[in-house]
Symmetry: C2
Subunit: 733 residues, 2 copies
């Protein structure tokens, strides 16, 4: 696999020595696109709406008068928001000029560029830049500068032919080349980063290069600062995406990264079609869009693992680029149109017109289809991944996620083998996501808050096992990003809706502790919702403390744990995230099975879990040591077991319903009596489920070498268990 | 006023000496209604849908086989839910029999009655009845028995002509008369109660009386057990409703009470039209429906004061009765049709057909219109009331409620002068409502939890002032329900959308402390949302501790209070609800104005409040001393002032917006710099507001004798303030 990438890279290197943008505009919007917009206006409602909104925004700014403020404020502050609005309006005005031929709009763009060109050379590093490792000039971080350039380059391209030679010289010399120099030289670190910040940076620089006809800029952007292919755009595609299109930072940051990846691809395709960029690495960019849209909940919000904020959905502006360019330039998949309808706007380009036209002719699907899927992580797919189990393709499905991917760079979490559970659009077992009030100035300028690192990223903040009260990799990002620090796929079989299973392993997060988590979704015939079986095996030569945690939304309405509520709430620990958990109550198990029933809106969820006698159980609430009230005060449960080898086994069952309107409650008790770990060793783990009606099922899991055909026989307590393949699930009475 | 009621009652008494139900059915469904349903089916979609759903439920039960279980379980348990389902299916089957003439349905109802008639005489008090002060027979509380009878009487009426004389004798002797005897004799306390439980009881008894032709039952129900008009249905209407239709238990329980009130009214109107029941007490029942629908948030959920659960809306089944009977038999107001559409079903009766037909012919309004209104409380309107201020009539309005009503009987709260604030459908300053997991068996059989009394009802649980850390009326319901224990309306002027004002007073909740709260909603021209001015005046001859509290949803993103977060969270106090509040942080004011900015979903809300220097401020969270995890862990703020006279004055401003999709935040800072209490005495309170742009406004409030025309001049700190009427609000620079 890797070898192929290298070959392809070299071909591309040779293919790309020269080009020239002979016509303007030719980045995202092209001359052909301008004609298509003209023809489409009045015919395709989504195009009309987008164009009208763009025009309204620009008209308002023309009326109010241009303002290019001195860069001063952090995220959320006036100058920050104004420069963001400016790049959007400049681009829109450039497009409107192309489409309408009304000079007012070209003059607006010109005036804006002249104002920026006059100011830019007078600026130093942004005054709030000290709070960023990578300060910008217009914005507190260079990332925002890059985003500005991605838009401004397109705006410039739109008015290029309108501007006099002198204007162009002034704008290019005083602004664009200086801007690019800051990005490629002063902030070369970001420019050469294999990271979404790097992608924004190369996209801005490449597009400026195309627009002003600077081949060197383009080549540096595509092949890296040294033009050797070791950094730059192509290397980013190679390194950051797996063969399945999984992006190593996760869904939330793919949402952000997808825009420069696809915008630059489109600009390359328009200017250097011979590069066949959309086919690069087996069509990675198309797969990335598909993976992005699949990593969502039933309302299109991105699954919130890693540093995700929970209010971002596929309606975000960046995803408009992904959807429209994918549909227009890669594959006209009608399910993309469903998302485009939700977005309620299109790109003002050939691709956007195609989407608007297809929607106007009724080609959209009536809903989005979600699939069960395992997505590998790592450039060659060998660094674990994530599995998403879905009970069906509709928004009402029960969905579960198992994460056994690599750390995920700067925005990663120490969350090896964590799970999430949804019932339709409801979060049941939740991932906290990141801690940030995006762009709200009062909350530290809208940046990630300190608790993002000290709480959100920590292992205990997740639905997984924390060993010895310490986070994965000793809470050390460098270790977590180390060459050998990754989990791996053990096996997946998501082919059968009545029984789906995924199993991931990790031996790197905790020194001397091997971990394997197997998650199965069982959909019995005639039952509305599936149940899940969670088998988390830990093995070590040493004694350890294993904290198995769940975070949930809703109310805990029943448990069989005998506990004492804390008269005063105290922090669960002092470090690695434990300091942010209040201990609300503490108890101990008193049978070999512990039960927790949750009520969340209209349904019940029961977890029955095999426990040792006298295991400690902590009922927690997030929010200790949070002097700025930045955390959400959500509840959790931690079961603490001690030992060298231990298997946590749980059945997690959505059940029943309650209607406030009719006041009727149904099946508020779960149907399982018991789950037992029959035995576990390096070859296999065998688990038995017993329902309240005394039906029994066996789940047999292969822990050794993966094979769909090998036969296994293991003996526990004198009894033999035999099956073929990686797993077996069968009713035994 | 009271004199008129008495006269009317006496007339009705004489008018009602005899009647006879010569035809069946004739309670809610009549022979005429049966014809109308037959003619309407296939024409009016809502009628079709309701009929089909009723039939599907009955068909399923016929298929499964009738089950009349031995009464055993509390709310939420099987026998409880099954008896509820049975009465619904019996009634529906009776109606279907009438409409379809298919004997299968009559046989089903008959079999059901026979089964109940065989079982009923064998039953004693319900085994779970010990947990209820008023145990039932079929259900743990007699209230549910009454509801059963309200439905069963109608079912019986539907199959009356189908049953043989022997069947009738058996059912009436073994079941219906015994049932009525239990209600009127064994549980005469409930039957004669001026309370919604009493209304259900009299409705069941009266309807049974009509159906079996027992005049005495009817007269007892209408005129009370002693047939003297001192109790019974008419007395309930007199006592429980104010002249504005406000029901003394509040919106949530009016939702529940409205069904028997209107169902019995309809049955009376069909059987004794000469009573003109819908015009009784100036058309109170129509006003009650209107008040009920107005006491909702923008999604139709009932404003959650008193023991309310927040998941009840106008879509509840009881409200279908209210809406359809009001529309069909009282006044065909098209806004009722909007609600009927939301309910998505109609009554199977003349009134329901009329609603379904009107909707089918497009008579519904496109949305519901909410109005600002002051509703008086008390039989003659003299016991205070509630005011609802709305910035406009749409669901997007900002709405505020001031409560200065009487306690509200069993489900009342010690919440004198509490406020609530909504922005569109979002709760901003919240009322906790009741503590109960309705019908969820695991939570104490679905009953009100102990914390309903110990937390929910307490003064500190509300957005009001708690004096000396004690609840109103020393936390004593009897005192709160005493003859002289009520607040009163000071003045209201809701006539002008740019400035609405309400002022309520109370001198009874705290011995020796007079309280007056004035709430104004100011809608400046050209500004999207209004702001509120809250002026809470306390006066006493003694020194007191005044705790001014706010409960909110969302995040506190800014405050100017210097505070220290609690390393361990400890309860705020030991009694009167304080024991349920964790102290998250404690601080002191350090200027004469304290600021709190909240972020709730997409908007910001800033409270600027005049404070003494060094006043204590407590940041709290609900949930201490809650060993069963029954409370919602929501945040609050309490400002503690000490003194004999004190005025709390705040400006509460909704402002700005944040869009996660566009990442744009706007106006995250409020526009007010300061609010000052210029002076306050028995004649007037004068408050000055100052914006950050140094604009100043004066609010002058008359504290003395109410008059719209009296002139006032007061002098504070040597400066005179003059105005005419109860208030004045003016810009002064």
């Amino acid at each position: 696999m890797l070898k192929n990438f290298r070959t392809l890279t070299i071909c591309l290197l040779f293919a790309s020595l020269s080009f020239a943008q002979s016509k303007h505009p030719n980045l995202i919007l092209t001359k052909e696109g301008v004609q298509q917009i003209k023809q489409g206006l009045g015919k395709y409602p989504l195009l009309d709406k987008t164009f009208a909104e763009a025009k309204a925004g620009v008209d308002a700014d023309i009326k109010n008068g241009i303002d290019v403020p001195f860069p001063k404020d952090p995220g959320g502050g006036y100058s920050h928001e104004k420069h963001k609005l400016n790049y959007q309006n400049m681009l829109n005005a450039g497009i409107i000029w192309q489409v309408s031929g009304d000079k007012k709009y070209a003059e607006y763009v010109k005036a804006m560029f002249i104002a920026y060109a006059k100011m830019y050379p007078t600026l130093g590093v942004h005054p709030e830049g000290k709070n960023s490792g990578t300060p910008g000039v217009l914005f507190w971080q260079s990332l925002n500068d890059a985003v500005w350039l991605v838009h401004a380059a397109q705006a410039y391209d739109c008015v290029y032919d309108y501007l006099s030679k002198d204007d162009r010289k002034f704008i290019e010399d005083s602004l664009l080349r200086k801007f690019v120099k800051y990005m490629t030289v002063n902030d070369s670190k970001t420019f050469n980063l294999i990271h979404n910040h790097g992608t924004w940076s190369v996209a801005g620089v490449a597009m400026t290069g195309y627009a002003i006809g600077d081949t060197d800029m383009v080549n540096k952007a595509i092949y890296g600062g040294n033009k050797d292919g070791k950094t730059g755009y192509l290397k980013q595609i190679q390194q950051l995406f797996s063969p399945d299109g999984y992006y190593t930072e996760g869904a939330y940051y793919l949402r952000y990264a997808i825009q420069p990846f696809l915008v630059l691809a489109k600009a390359i395709d328009n200017n250097q079609p011979s590069l066949k960029i959309f086919s690069y690495k087996n069509g990675t960019l198309a797969k990335a869009t598909s993976a992005l849209l699949q990593m969502t909940d039933a309302s299109g919000y991105f699954l919130p693992f890693n540093d995700a904020l929970k209010d971002k959905s596929w309606e975000s502006g960046e995803v408009v680029y992904a959807v429209d360019i994918s549909y227009g330039s890669i594959k006209d998949d009608p399910s993309l149109l469903f998302v485009a309808q939700k977005q309620d706007r299109v790109l003002l380009s050939t691709d956007g017109v195609k989407v608007a036209k297809a929607i106007a002719s009724g080609k959209s699907t009536p809903s989005f289809k979600w699939h069960s899927m395992a997505l590998t992580d790592g450039p060659d797919g060998s660094k674990g991944g994530i599995s998403i189990l879905r009970s069906n393709e509709t928004p009402d499905a029960v969905s579960a996620l198992l994460k056994y991917s690599s750390y995920g760079m700067d925005h990663g979490h120490f969350d090896k083998l964590a799970i999430q559970l949804y019932d339709g659009e409801k979060e049941i077992l939740t991932d906290y996501g990141g801690t940030r009030f995006l762009n709200i100035e009062q909350k530290r300028g809208g940046r990630y808050l300190p608790e993002n690192r000290t709480w959100s990223k920590q292992t205990i903040a997740h639905n997984t096992v924390t060993v010895d009260a310490k986070s994965n990799y000793d809470n050390n990002t460098k270790k977590a990003e180390g060459a050998n620090a990754f989990s791996y796929t053990h096996f997946n079989d998501l082919s059968n809706k009545s029984f789906q299973i995924t199993s991931g392993k990790d031996t790197t997060a905790y020194s001397g502790v091997a971990m394997q988590r197997t998650l199965a979704m069982v959909q019995p015939e005639g039952i509305e919702k599936p149940f899940l079986i969670d088998v988390y095996r830990l093995s070590s030569k040493e004694q350890h403390q294993y904290d198995y945690s769940f975070y949930y939304l809703g109310s805990l309405i029943e448990t069989n744990i005998k506990y004492t509520a804390s008269p005063q709430m105290y922090p669960f620990g002092k470090k690695d995230g434990y300091e942010f958990l209040w201990v609300k109550a503490k108890g101990t198990t008193n049978t070999d099975n512990s039960l927790f029933t949750l009520f969340n809106e209209h349904n019940f969820y029961t977890i029955v879990t095999a426990t040792s006698n006298n295991a400690e159980v902590f009922f927690t609430e997030i929010g200790a040591n949070d002097p700025e009230f930045s955390l959400r005060n959500e509840p959790g449960i931690t079961i603490r077991e001690n030992g060298s080898d231990h298997v946590f086994a749980s059945v997690i069952e959505p059940h029943g319903s309650f209607s406030a309107t009719s006041e009727a409650s149904k099946d508020s008790y779960g149907s399982f009596a018991k789950i037992e770990v029959i035995g576990s060793n390096d070859e296999a783990t065998v688990v038995m489920l017993t329902s309240k009606k005394n039906e029994k099922w066996l789940l047999e899991i292969n822990n050794g070498k993966v094979s769909a055909t090998d036969s296994h026989t293991v003996t526990f307590d004198g009894k033999s268990y035999s099956w073929t393949g990686n797993y077996s699930f069968k009713k035994v009475n």
